[in-house]
Amino acid sequence: MNVAGADRNRQLVTVGIGAMLTLVMSAVLILGFRLATQMRASVTGLQTASMLQTYPDAISQQLNSLRDRLEARAYAGQALADLKVTVKRFDHELEQLGAGGYLQSAELDQALLLWHQYTPVVEPVVNFTGQAYVDSDDAGSAFSKEGRAHYADVKRAQLFATENARRLQQQLATVATTLQQTSSDGAARLRTLLLSGVLAALVLAGAAAYFQFTRARHERAAKEAQDQTRDILKTVREGFFLLDADYNIGSVWSEALTRMFSRQDFAGLGFEDLLKGLVPPTTLSTAMKYIKLLWGERAHENLMKSINPLGQLEITMDNGHGGKETRYLQFDFHRVMGPKGIKHVLCAVGDITSSVLLAKELQESQESANAQLDMMLGMMHVDPLQLNSFLDSTETGLQLINAILKEPARADSEFRKKLNGLFRELHSIKGEASALNLMSIAHRVHSLEDMVSELKKKAELSGNDFLPMVLKLDDLMAHLRGVREMASRLTALKDTAPAAAAVTAAATVAPARAAKQAAAHEQRSQQGRSGDDLSPTLHSMAERLAHDHRKRFKLTINGFAEVPGSYIATVKDCVIQMLRNSAVHGIEASDIRKAHTKDDVGAVRVDFRRSGDGYELVFEDDGAGISPDALKAAAVRKQIITEQEAAGMDTRAAMALIFRPGFSTQEEVSMDAGRGVGMDVVARSVYALGGKIGVSTNPGKFTRFKIVLPAAEAPSSTAVA
């Protein structure tokens, strides 16, 4: 609907009708004025004509009187004077009537003609100036010569006047009648004219009323439309606004924007100012480039839609309670075309936070389901006894961690001590979990380690800093319970499968019972447990490490059957740590190995054998070896030693650095290296058993760790926990 066009048309019609009616009214007034003037002239003429009717008689009588006077030789001067006045006045009035212009009738012409016939007869009489009488003593008064002529003139004039007075009078009466008729016609015309004037005025008033009415109706409709628009903009859940060519927001926008952006001043606001502070500068600059492209007509709508960088915009804003809140907004842009190209860009903003979060949740649950599946598959490859033993030791470890967390602490040093304790426990749990390929557990422990690392960086520590860790620990414990539950189900499954063939009665085994069975099984095997059980775990870990670090190496394990039960845990922890070191630092990438004319598949060898009274474990890889200078540089970087100390160190002292707590040459923290916990734990656990550890290396050729352990005591419950 083109409202502006309709309005213009209505205005034109109003002005046209108004002008026409004004013209009509003016014409009526002018005509009326002219008519009134004419009527006034007619009335004056009528009066004159009526008065003139008496003159012919008067002239006739005055001539009679003059003749009588002359016949009686009486004084005739007065009579002549009266006649003169009458004739002159009549002549004058009649001329006036004719010259007035308001009467151009044949009747008047006739009257004038008749009067002009009077002139030759009356003129000699009124022009007489001589002495009519001659006085003598004998004869008294007698006519003078000119008196006699004068008398003759008078007599002739008197006769003429008597003869014609009636005709002239009638003629003047006719003139009067005509004049009367004229003024009567004029009056009728004036009446008609006034009537039409009144009618025109009425039409004008009617037209004005009609336009007033339609205008009011249009205004009402416009107001209603405005109200409806306002209601829509108030209610709609999307934010709507128009952008002009200067990228400013128009004066009309929907209420939803207020909720989305927590502001009110949208009218005239620049699009850039709307987003400033809510999105990173790079996103803002891309958004502005995009808006500029929208105004150019080079790219069509579909293409512009497909490259819309604001399709899912993450914005961070104050939540009104002092905190920050993240929302996801979707901006859609549509060009609004006018006759001269793009007129506006319509922008629709939707708050898609809930759907984005839902999608994230879905993805997370999908990932967790996948992780569970992976874990289950992983668990199926792990020996149930090993798994149970891991779960037991992990639970003990977590209890220890819990105890450390609960330990009262005030001073910063106490907090730091706590952190170090937490770190060692977590690291050893992570190592075992990785070795068993239980990555869901390993990742959780890794993120706990991350939290500890973050805390270590903090300048001042308080009890509150540890609270998030407690939550995370709860989560980990719940996860462990889940793993245990799954493990017992798996055990039940494994147990029942062969059992079903042999014992038909016990076809199904409840998980709880299965767990008990597994526990009993484990206890049974505790006495006769051998180090051979470790080999599959270490091989699977080696495979994972090789895959994760894109290295190729072969692990060879010898003599693990000799490992006494009480040393199994320590041997496992140590080999896992050394294996990690080899995979991360030792074994080079295949191309580097080839470049150094080495076999592109690395070799890692672990030998365990009796030696004298005790045992000897040798771990060797044919990797890059350890450079004492690199060790010293890393130790300086980690501020474990000073540069002076480093300078004073011989090779032997430098090599000993790897057993220092907190030492790592790795800059990036990964699942397998970089925390600086590792070889110090190995060394500590070896020392704890009364053993020794040594390292020898040849840079570019090999690294060899040698661990010497004393003769084992009888296995005890603490040793396997």
Binding site: T283, K289, Y290, H300
Partner: protein, 134 residues
């Protein structure tokens, strides 16, 4: 901006556009060449990086260019801005594995006329080219 201004007559007397393919992958160049279903689009040259593209452009004066973004020596974005200066009427379709919208917006800002993500189907490519020549 009318690509028709660059029209020439080919041997069959049909109106045609000259096409240049710029991509550092030989496989991708052949893939684009094979997928092209437009009779009026005649391949006049290929280039493996931005510098080669500019040389080829000067020699062959193509009307339509498909442009990879990540290339050695001179990347696609820089190349686009140079081609547009040389021939404002040229129509450029960016074909890139970089899926982020900011890259697309950058390319469009520099003067590209279309954007297609790798991997693509024959249909998608032909639709994108059709849009380009419209």
């Amino acid at each position: 901006m009318n690509a028709a201004s660059g029209k020439v007559m080919n041997a069959n007397g049909k109106k045609s556009f000259k096409l240049m393919i710029v991509d550092d992958s030989n496989i991708m160049r052949r893939r684009i060449e094979r997928s092209n279903q437009f009779e009026e689009l005649e391949l006049v040259g290929t280039a493996g990086n931005g510098l080669e593209a500019i040389e080829m452009f000067k020699k062959m004066d193509p009307d339509v260019v498909t442009m990879d973004l990540t290339m050695p020596q001179m990347d696609g974005i820089e190349c686009i801005s140079k081609l547009v200066v040389m021939k404002p009427a040229v129509r450029i379709l960016v074909i890139s594995a970089l899926a982020d919208k900011a890259t697309a917006v950058d390319a469009m800002e520099k003067g590209a006329n279309g954007f297609l993500n790798k991997p693509f189907t024959d249909r998608q490519l032909n639709e994108a080219i059709a849009d380009l020549m419209r």
